[in-house]
């Protein structure tokens, strides 16, 4: 067991973990943060995307021990005072999901994308979310949601 201490969604947590424990397992099984989901388990789908020290990562592809001393934000830490984050609100507004399984990762990646590029073109959005797979929407309304969150006008 290895002792780790990190900040998750604003709270400091500390635990003894097996070195082989993945960050996503730690978040879900130890902290009960099941908002972050496991999709493909092969680092392809991006459903488990969280922010590690402010940058998006696939939490199935990071060991919990590697996050020692770091700051993690999950989908559960995005809203403030019960108010949805603008990207969450835009996904709701634009109907950017059907089954919803990819949504936590898709939103976390979109937040990261807008941090780098606050006014992305449609092509830049599509490239920016290339590591996140959605099998329902065809990505159309997801792109619209990102545009809406960026304050851009979109076609109805």
């Amino acid at each position: 067991m290895t002792r780790i201490e990190l900040k998750v969604d604003g709270a400091t947590v500390s635990d003894d973990v097996e070195p082989r424990m993945l960050l996503v397992q730690y978040l879900r099984e130890k902290l009960g943060k099941t908002g972050t989901v496991i999709g493909c388990d092969t680092s392809n789908c991006g459903a488990c995307t969280v922010h590690l020290d402010g940058r998006s990562v696939k939490s199935c592809n990071v060991l919990a021990v590697q996050a020692d001393g770091a700051e993690v934000t999950t989908i559960e830490g995005l809203a403030t005072d019960g108010e949805l984050h603008p990207v969450q609100a835009a996904f709701h507004e634009c109907h950017a999901l059907q089954c919803g399984f990819c949504t936590p990762g898709m939103i976390m990646q979109s937040v990261d994308l807008l941090k780098d590029n606050p006014n992305p073109s449609e092509a830049e959005i599509r490239v920016g979310i290339e590591g996140n797979l959605c099998r329902c929407t065809g990505y159309h309304n997801i792109v619209k949601a990102v545009q809406t969150a960026a304050g851009q006008k979109t076609e109805a």
Partner: protein, 285 residues
């Protein structure tokens, strides 16, 4: 899936990491950014007894402008490299190839050094490293040694880095005045290339004076297309001018056959992609 159990050490200096390697030998595996190693561990394709995480060795993340060269610490992430203006300007080929690596999340964690030591022949980084004629700095119990890129990739997933050694930096001579292009052929977004070509070309008065070409996924390692490099010298930088030279791109290669295409298809792709890469590189200089 979950990896098999392993012990974990996280040294904070290269010396400590080398000591851990010396202690555990071939039972240990170095963890760099982990973006290739973790899938390998999860799928249990490898089951090391000890994982040595070098992510806490800050000195390995430095990118240094050394005048005629740029030294990239082995643990510099793709995102860090993409954000470096000196690399974008003076090593544009490397910059362009790295924009094509996987996806943003992987580029936040993955490292150039990790990718090169992993030595996947389908990885995007080997070809530009070969074409830019980088030197790889390796540290071991006996001190430091430097290996040319052409000597670094030995076989499938096998490099010149010994079991008791660590790659610490990759040193690139600046390629100011060279045109570059990375031409990647892929079936879906964020995947490994079926074939890609990294081209660095010098054009003087409309004529190609020098060319360096790296091929991805055309053999058990990244390769240089040396026959094409030589045949391009003295040719006009036009579609007709480079055609015959680029038709030699697959010479001396041994491309794999898989679900994405057989060897003959890859050989054909190599000639077409080389022509595109050379012309775009010539046009960008």
């Amino acid at each position: 899936m979950i990896p098999t159990q392993f012990a974990y050490v996280a040294p904070t200096s290269v010396e400590e990491a080398l000591a851990a390697l010396a202690e555990h030998g071939d039972e240990a595996k170095i963890l760099a950014g982990g973006q290739s190693l973790l899938p390998v561990l999860r799928m249990r394709l490898n089951a090391p007894e000890v994982v040595i995480d070098i992510g806490k060795i800050d000195s390995l993340r430095e990118i240094r402008d050394e005048g005629d060269t740029i030294s990239i610490g082995a643990m510099a992430t793709y995102a860090q490299i993409l954000g470096d203006a000196g690399i974008r300007d003076s090593l544009s080929l490397l910059h362009k190839a790295i924009t094509e690596v996987a996806d943003p999340q992987i580029r936040h964690r993955g490292t150039l050094g990790g990718a090169l030591v992993h030595a996947d022949p389908a990885g995007d980084c080997g070809a530009p490293t070969l074409a830019l004629e980088a030197d790889l700095v390796i540290q071991g119990p006996g001190g430091e040694r430097t290996v040319a890129a052409t000597e670094f990739f030995e076989d499938l997933f096998t490099t010149a880095v010994g079991e008791d050694e660590i790659l610490t930096a990759i040193r690139f001579r600046k390629h100011d005045g060279w045109g570059s292009h990375y031409e990647k052929f892929v079936r879906v977004a964020h995947q490994w290339p079926i074939v890609s070509v990294a081209a660095s070309v010098k054009v003087e008065g409309g004529t190609i004076s020098e060319a360096r070409l790296g091929l991805v996924n055309m053999g058990s390692t990244a390769l240089r297309a040396t026959a094409t490099e030589q045949a391009l010298v003295g040719q006009p930088a036009t579609e007709d001018g480079v055609r015959a030279a680029c038709d030699l791109a697959a010479e001396g290669t041994n491309p794999p056959s898989d679900l994405n295409g057989d060897a003959a298809y890859r050989s054909h792709l190599a000639t077409v992609l080389t022509r595109r890469a050379v012309l775009k590189a010539a046009g960008s200089s």
